[in-house]
């Protein structure tokens, strides 16, 4: 019974520590709230079933991310398409500055969506989990130089897309 209680406490600690981070990561990978909830739920279910294999609590973050990435990949194996509802991005505001912010947010949404997954994932791992280049390399089974190059290109691509959108918006006005 004590062992069961200890495992349950360990699980609850994992949920408390990593649930929101995994949820946000999942959301930016899938851009669909329902799909995110499904893969995060499946991630924690698999983690719970194998929780006795988790020998070092410090390794939990990478372990959970690996499970979540596999769950996301399985989605495509099952040929389920993730649909993006354009209404999610249209926000009507009366205030001009809020409208401007909404446009910029929409552009950033589009810019992130336009990133290839190979670029998007290192960026999200760095931003959401504070991973270093080495840690991202280990998580994605890449070498560190490749990770740093992808991070640089992803950020440059985001900056370029945003600059182009701003320029075209200025032209139209």
């Amino acid at each position: 019974m004590k062992r069961d209680k200890a495992l349950t406490q360990q699980y609850e600690a994992l949920v408390a520590q990593y649930h929101m981070d995994l949820y946000r990561y999942g959301f930016w990978l899938t851009k669909d709230k329902q799909v995110t909830e499904d893969i995060v739920q499946e991630t924690f279910l698999r983690a719970w079933r194998a929780i006795e294999q988790l020998e070092d609590i410090k390794a939990a973050k990478g372990w959970l991310i690996t499970i979540l990435r596999r769950e996301n990949a399985r989605r495509f194996e099952r040929k389920q398409l993730s649909l993006v509802d354009i209404d999610d991005y249209s926000v009507a505001d009366d205030n001009e500055s809020q409208q401007q912010t909404s446009i910029e947010h929409e552009e950033l949404h589009v810019a992130i969506d336009m990133l290839a997954d190979d670029y998007k994932e290192p960026l999200l791992l760095q931003s959401m989990f504070g991973f270093s280049g080495e840690e991202i390399a280990k998580q994605l089974s890449l070498n560190k130089n490749t990770v740093m190059t992808r991070l640089f290109r992803a950020k440059k691509q985001l900056a370029d897309i945003l600059t182009n959108h701003s320029a075209s918006r200025t032209d139209k006005s």
Binding site: T8, A13, W48, E52, S127, M148
Partner: protein, 245 residues
């Protein structure tokens, strides 16, 4: 794949701790500015990606309920009928597992310590190599997202370098690292799920001073280096913390 130059590296990872890169930054004001710009951009990106639709209550309930299901070991026991030929080996293995688990439990009990002060000092000392070393400078929204698990919130996160969770006797607790001039201050929000044998409002060891404030929902624990003004830090944090004070 070609290696990035220092300006590209600054954009890719402005928090890079490579000594050659840091030396180059020190000697080049344009590179220093590139690092500052890249940190601002990273911060903006982090703020932006923090803003996601809240998960549904049904999802949160489902996540909590998962630990009511059997773990893989329980499932394996149910299927042991298929494995008769390996019974002797499993018996030996099972004995070893029982021994290991028993030793672990005994060991854990021997080191059982309900002293909140020692826990806080141990977390600070053991966590020092990594907690807050990479300055993630979380936003107030991000910090409050984490603190919402404990029903707490802050009104200011300007001096918070790092925000995460840790365990006190298996109970998840918030762990924040604040900046105080050049020092790092460790702050823990420990829910009242545990009964600690002993609570001292002031404690210390050779390197740190600590304070504990008992609130209605939990304990605010602050551990600061000896040369810090812990009273002023405590007063500031208490003023910014909403945890049913």
């Amino acid at each position: 794949m070609k290696t990035l130059n220092y300006f590209e590296l600054a954009m890719a990872d402005p928090y890079c701790t490579d000594p050659d890169f840091l030396e180059a930054v020190k000697n080049d004001s344009a590179l220093q500015q590139a690092v500052i710009d890249a940190k601002e951009n990273d911060k903006m990106f982090e703020n932006f990606t923090s803003d996601v639709p809240a998960p549904s209550q049904m999802h949160l309930d489902a996540i909590k309920a998962i630990c009511d299901e059997p773990t893989s070991s329980t499932v394996t026991h149910k299927n042991k009928g298929h494995l008769n030929s390996y019974k002797p080996y499993f018996a030996i293995a099972a004995s070893l597992v029982v021994m290991t688990v028993s030793l672990f439990m005994l060991s854990a009990q021997n080191h059982h310590n309900d002293n909140l002060m020692d826990h806080a000092l141990a977390h600070t000392s053991h966590g020092a190599p990594y907690a807050g070393v990479t300055d993630t400078n979380p936003t107030l929204t991000r910090v409050n997202q984490q603190l919402s698990l404990y029903g707490a919130s802050l009104t200011n996160a300007n001096d918070i370098l790092w925000s995460s969770h840790c365990e006190f006797q298996g109970i998840a607790s918030a762990h924040l690292v604040y900046r105080d001039n050049a020092e790092r201050i460790n702050v823990f929000l420990v829910p009242k799920s545990l009964d600690f044998d002993e609570i001292k409002t002031r404690f210390s060891n050779a390197d740190f001073n600590g304070t504990i404030t008992e609130l209605s929902s939990g304990y605010l624990v602050i551990v600061a280096p000896k040369n810090s003004d812990i009273n002023s830090i405590k007063s500031n944090i208490e003023g910014e913390l909403d945890w049913e004070i």
